[in-house]
């Protein structure tokens, strides 16, 4: 079986959520099939500038083909178009222009996909909201398997994505909440889909003492891993933690691992480790009382899964349906929606408390049951086998005509997403 993974960026040093997801899946599927990766030369997800060489490369034993981005993103133009699409009634033509503005616009990549479609059994497209996935799926719809990695954010309500969600052969969802949202906005229940998620390369042994000594972590701490950004809920996290630190002088410290986009408050109980290696990350996670995940928009948090794999509970933002749903289904984490809940849950999850061990154990079981690599691989392979046996029933809907595309009758995307059912899916 020949599989092509199509993703916006790819590389051993690229740690974005969907990109890492794609790399892990490619490396795991390579044990069962012939896998190649089709991607762009971009490294920066904001501008999509061509930074990596065009052509073939091998990354961790996987063949990677890179194609140039036609034009880098203009953030101002993209911002204006986003406002028009998300908040105003608009036309399909405007949505297509918005998609072009979002990027990464790589016409060579799309042409290559069309060229090799006869040689490949399935194309696995990552991140539905980007140019490469939309045009790629339209080019090879009968062989397209989509991994949407969709968060509950307005772009997913754009009308141009409905035919994509309805026209692919199968969808590999990250969570029950993601599936419920996509089915609500696109009415694609007939499309085969399975909630898969992603595993992680968990080390067999972690050495928390090493991280504690290296980073001088003397007090118990809650750990945040990821980009330190307001979009990831870090501003609210800082605000809450500073209040918590004032109220509970003997409480936990907050340790941050990741590159900072947002200024970090200077406080003796907030420690920033910077960007850390995987080894340091897992060691620090092993030594933490728990992981805190303040992001309100997540399709799946890999670090939360990693924390559970190491038997650490997780404290998540209750406004994120996916994280809250996972915490509830796994019984391995708590969530907060206000400062009071934040302070109480911080206290409840301390390692010396009665909940920490129990929730950690539940997390480890949950990870093994749903996110261990054999489980993930089996779900992908079973889906491919099923698609091979079943003839393609779906066809991609053609775009409307020139005049119809320019008719301003498409509702604001944010309103479409708001109308979709909210809340965690427990069953």
């Amino acid at each position: 079986m020949k599989i092509a993974i199509v993703v916006q960026r790819y590389g051993a040093d690229i740690n974005g959520g969907a990109e890492l997801h794609a790399r892990y899946v490619a490396e795991r599927l390579a044990r069962h099939a012939e896998v190649q990766v089709l991607t762009t030369c971009a490294r920066d997800y904001i501008t999509w500038k061509n930074e990596l060489p065009v052509g073939e490369e091998t990354v961790n034993g996987i063949k990677v083909l890179r194609f140039p981005v036609t034009a880098p993103r203009n953030p101002d133009d993209f911002g204006k178009r986003s406002v028009a699409i998300f908040e105003k009634t608009h036309s399909l033509a405007e949505e297509l222009a918005w998609l072009e503005s979002e990027g990464p616009t790589s016409k060579a990549l799309i042409k290559h996909i069309g060229r090799i479609q006869a040689e490949v059994d399935f194309f696995v497209f990552f991140s539905a909201r980007y140019y490469h996935a939309w045009h790629g799926v339209r080019a090879v719809a009968d062989k397209a398997v989509l991994v949407p990695t969709a968060e509950r954010e307005p772009s997913i309500g754009a009308a141009i994505f409905g035919p994509i969600f309805r026209g692919v052969r199968a969808i590999m969802y990250n969570s029950l909440e993601e599936r419920a949202m996509i089915q609500a906005v696109s009415n694609n229940r007939q499309v085969p889909g399975v909630v898969v998620g992603i595993g992680s390369n968990i080390p067999e042994r972690v050495q928390p003492w090493r991280a504690k000594r290296k980073f001088n972590l003397k007090r118990p701490y809650a750990l945040y891993i990821g980009r330190i950004d307001a979009n990831k809920g870090c501003a609210e996290l800082f605000e809450y933690f500073l209040r918590y630190a004032t109220m509970y002088p003997d409480g936990l410290d907050l340790v941050l691992a990741g590159s900072a986009v947002l200024p970090i408050p200077k406080h003796p109980r907030i420690k920033h480790l910077g960007f850390v290696s995987d080894e340091d990350k897992f060691d620090a996670l092993g030594g933490a009382d728990f992981l805190v995940m303040p992001s309100p928009y997540e399709s799946l948090s890999m670090v939360a899964l990693e924390a559970w794999a190491l038997g650490r509970p997780v404290l998540v933002n209750g406004n994120c349906d996916v994280l809250r749903g996972q915490a509830m289904r796994s019984n391995a984490g708590l969530y907060y929606e206000s400062f009071e809940e934040f302070a109480e849950t911080m206290y409840a999850l301390e390692a010396s408390g009665p909940l920490n061990q129990v929730l950690g154990r539940n997390g480890r079981d949950f990870f093994k049951r749903h996110y261990a690599w054999p489980v993930i691989e089996r779900k992908y392979l079973e889906m491919f086998e099923r698609l091979k046996k079943e003839p393609s029933k779906t066809t991609i809907e053609p775009l409307p005509g020139w005049f119809a595309r320019r008719k301003k009758n498409v509702p604001p995307a944010a309103g479409v997403v708001d109308a979709a059912p909210k809340g965690p899916v427990l069953r």
């Binding site: 509830m328 019984n331 391995a332 708590l334 206000s338 809940e341 409840a348 408390g353 909940l355 129990v358």
Partner: protein
């Protein structure tokens, strides 16, 4: 913070969150969301704040008064021909209009009008520039003021919200302080009552006491030299329960509680005094089994100490033992009896003795 009740490994996160929310509700008295706090801040301030200090319709006032100031008007002055010949009297106006051609024979009013207009326009332009400059200055200052108003509005609004929150927290803290102080009062009263009860508890009569079990450090009967026994009829294991202390060495701490202040003696020492049989031992016998460190002193000062004790006892008034809380019906209440309980009333205590066993409870037997 209170602890969670985890009864089994099968925890339910939803249930835990319900417990957490219930505790938050309990803490702040009512389950206010941020939105509710904001609503309370703008509507029901008088519930939480002093209405004399802050107006409850502050936010509405700010909103109502926020009308942007209009742009400055431009000055426009123009003199028309009609302005020169016009009048409110119709007759005069008709005569003027009839005579207008005649007047035009002599002068050209249009040229005069034009020149006057030109001069007026020039003057108006100058004035207009000046006025516009002044108006613009004021206008800009008004705009700045309006922008500041919106900032003030934000600041005051936030202050009101924070005040509301603090007020709620303050009331909760007050309640907690009251609760804690009442608990403390109760504990103090309870402790005092317990002390009083024990303090005035009459000592049990010796013959009625049940025989206590032998303690871990009790000595078998055969190991004790017969000469050290105080009462031939007293069981050996009863002595063990009393730490086998010789009665002649009874210290100040062994005096009955009724004669002592609360601070003189810890409660735990009381039982030793109560159970001591009345002294039949000589001071020499008593000092022989005392604390080893003290024993040396005792042997050295034995004669001196005995003399001092005898002197003290001679000073006692007759009948004082019975009134002083000694155990009624025992030999100890007989005045002058050596080692009698309650035989040293507070008033006759002549300061701490330096002769060891009188001050320190003896542990004869248990130190072997």
């Amino acid at each position: 913070m209170a602890e969670f009740q985890i009864r089994a490994d099968a925890v339910d996160v939803e249930q835990i969150m319900r417990q957490i929310r219930a505790r938050i509700r309990e803490k702040r008295g009512a389950d206010y969301t941020e939105q509710e706090i904001k609503e309370l801040a703008s509507v029901k301030l008088e519930k939480f704040l002093d209405p004399r200090g802050i107006r409850s319709n502050l936010v509405e006032e700010f909103r109502r008064n926020r009308v942007p100031s209009p742009a400055p008007p431009a000055l426009d002055v123009r003199i028309e021909a009609l302005t020169v010949t016009g009048t409110h009297r119709s007759t005069l106006a008709s005569i003027r209009s009839l005579l207008a051609p005649v007047m035009k024979l002599f002068i050209n009013p249009n040229a005069i009008m034009h020149d006057i207009n030109a001069a007026v326009q020039k003057l108006a332009a100058t004035l207009n520039d000046k006025q516009t400059e002044i108006n613009t200055g004021f206008h800009n200052r008004f705009r700045q003021r309006e922008e500041m108003d919106s900032l003030y509005y934000e600041v005051i609004h936030n202050v009101v919200v924070e005040l509301t929150r603090l007020s709620i927290e303050n009331s909760n803290l007050k309640m907690r302080v009251e609760s804690l102080s009442s608990r403390m009062d109760f504990d103090e009263r309870r402790a005092r009552a317990l002390e009083t009860v024990v303090q005035y508890k009459p000592a049990p009569r010796q013959p009625d006491r049940p025989q206590p079990e032998r303690g871990q450090n009790d000595k078998p009967q055969g190991e004790k030299p017969q000469g050290e026994r105080q009462h031939g009829d007293k069981p050996q294991n009863e002595r063990a329960a009393q730490n086998e202390r010789p009665q002649g060495e009874r210290s100040n701490n062994e005096r009955p509680q009724g004669e002592r202040s609360q601070n003189e003696r810890p409660q735990g020492d009381r039982s030793q005094g109560e159970r001591a049989p009345q002294g039949e031992r000589t001071p020499q016998q008593a000092s022989a089994g005392a604390d080893p460190q003290r024993a040396g002193l005792e042997s050295r000062d034995q004669g001196e100490r005995g003399e001092r004790r005898r002197r003290r006892r001679r000073r006692r008034r007759p009948g004082q033992n019975a009134a002083g809380g000694g155990v009624p019906g025992t030999e100890a209440n007989v005045p002058g009896q050596p080692g009698a309980q309650g035989s040293e009333p507070e008033g006759d205590y002549d300061g701490p003795d330096d002769d060891g066993p009188d001050d320190v409870p003896s542990t004869e037997g248990s130190t072997e």
